[in-house]
Amino acid sequence: MESRRYLGTGVVHLILLSYTAIALFPIFMILINAFKSRKGIFKAPLALPDAETFSVVGFTKVLQKSNFEVYFTNSITVTVVTLAIVLLTAAMAAWALAEYKFPGNTLLGLYLALGIMIPIRLGSVSILQLIVDLNLVNTLTALILVYTAQGLPLAVFILTEFMRQIPNDLKEAARCDGINEYRIFFHVILPLTRPAIATVAVFTMVPIWNDLWFPLILAPSEGTQTITLGVQQFIGQYVTDWNAVLASLTLAIVPILLLYVLFSRQLIRGLTAGAVK
């Protein structure tokens, strides 16, 4: 009986380990081969770089022939600015929906939640026209506006649910002290919302950083390309240069890898907490 249980546990670990290997192997292959010479890449793709095959020629090429720093700065700017706007405006709206009774409260909540299920891409024809009319083609502002609209529905939804659970005594105590509603929101409520904000931040950030569609149609100029579009275009151009392709992929993977190492705990907690409800 006992030994059968150990056997069972062993099989479970074997399956989980195999799947983990399948999930990570392709990424691992890219990362190790990016640091090899062309000869090393083709002669022994599965080997780690050693003294003989080690080379960073791919990275030098990428940094020389593309504006990687520009793409990177663009992506950071767009993501960080959008994130700040989404978090602030979504928290404000969520607070109003969760706290105050006013006619149309439920309806407005539903209206804002619609966007969780309907992909914003389907409005691209009119979005492009709107951006042309506003004279914002090939600007990061265009991306920021569209991504803000894209991120708001889920952010408002999650934050409203969270704010409904904030105990009454805290805000009532503040109201008794005669503190006005804005101060209650910024000084009492926002700090309490921090755990939910971390989750919302990750959910908002990842699709923006990874998006190809809107940079491609709204801001494809050399100076406004984000990293996803930049890598796509670069690889399209240097498709036969394996060193450069592997290096550019590695440069795109590493920031996300670092971020994931730092924030995976919050992200996974958010994913599991959200679904329990």
Partner: protein
Amino acid sequence: MMANDALHREEAEEQKSGWRDFPTHIVIFLAPATIVYTLFMVYPLIDSVRLSFYGTAEDGQFYFAGLQNYVVMMTDTLWSEPFWNALKNNFIFFLMHMLVQNPIGLLLAALLSLPQVTGRSTYRTLIFFPTMLSVVIIGFIWQLILSPLWGVSESLLGYIGLEAWFRPWLGEEGTALLTLSLISVWQFVGIPMMLIYAALLSIPDDLTDAGVVDGANHFWIFLYIKLPLILPAIAMVSILTFVANFNAFDLIYAVKGALAGPNFSTDIMGTFFYRTFFGFQLQLGSPTMGATVATLMFLVILIGVMLYLFGIQRRLNRFQL
């Protein structure tokens, strides 16, 4: 009675003046989010539907055309063939996710939730990592791994004696779409795994303890006690998969370009929409035809969401605790 009347009147008056005295702070809290969302999401979606009833003249002006675009899309083989091809491919893409991604996600979640498994958070974190990367990056990674030039897949198959099985799967008409679907499955398996795992965790222990007392093993407990309880989570995963699949574009565009080759065998609604809107080769792009494709995609997604909300979700609620 009198007092009651007065109270009613007061209430009625309060409601009447409700709009006039609408507290400013509520408006200020709600306005920024509502305005940006309305202007850059709701308006474009509605305007796209409107544009689908217009035609584009030679000089780029729009004119009202009624249902003409839809008639052309359904009857002109130049349009209807690629449309049905993209829709069919998109259903295959979705089916592959339902048949491969979600069962694997379920299996991994079930294994992770077993009581005796240690290191589950490490497994979860590692398996979820590919989901975080850009679809574009994933597409290129697999293009390299599957490339006959590099030979990584071939030599891996060689280890288990299946070298002869290797084909340039991404390049052949018969296998390209299935291969791309599996790449997408590989990337997103973490999402069903996480959501189903969370649902499994929320099942109270006393329910499964009853099974343990009765002498049932883990497999039977899973099948007869846990699985019925997590059906709502599985339904939610399915609808999320549906919406994401019918809105997909990046992977096909990165690996195959806008032409979704070979011979349009990997063309899905997203790439068809892009080509219609921006044009390709000799065909000029048309915003109004693009809007028509977008509206049709919108309808497909709407039908899926409605089926979920009114069919599956309602029936499943009866099972819930």
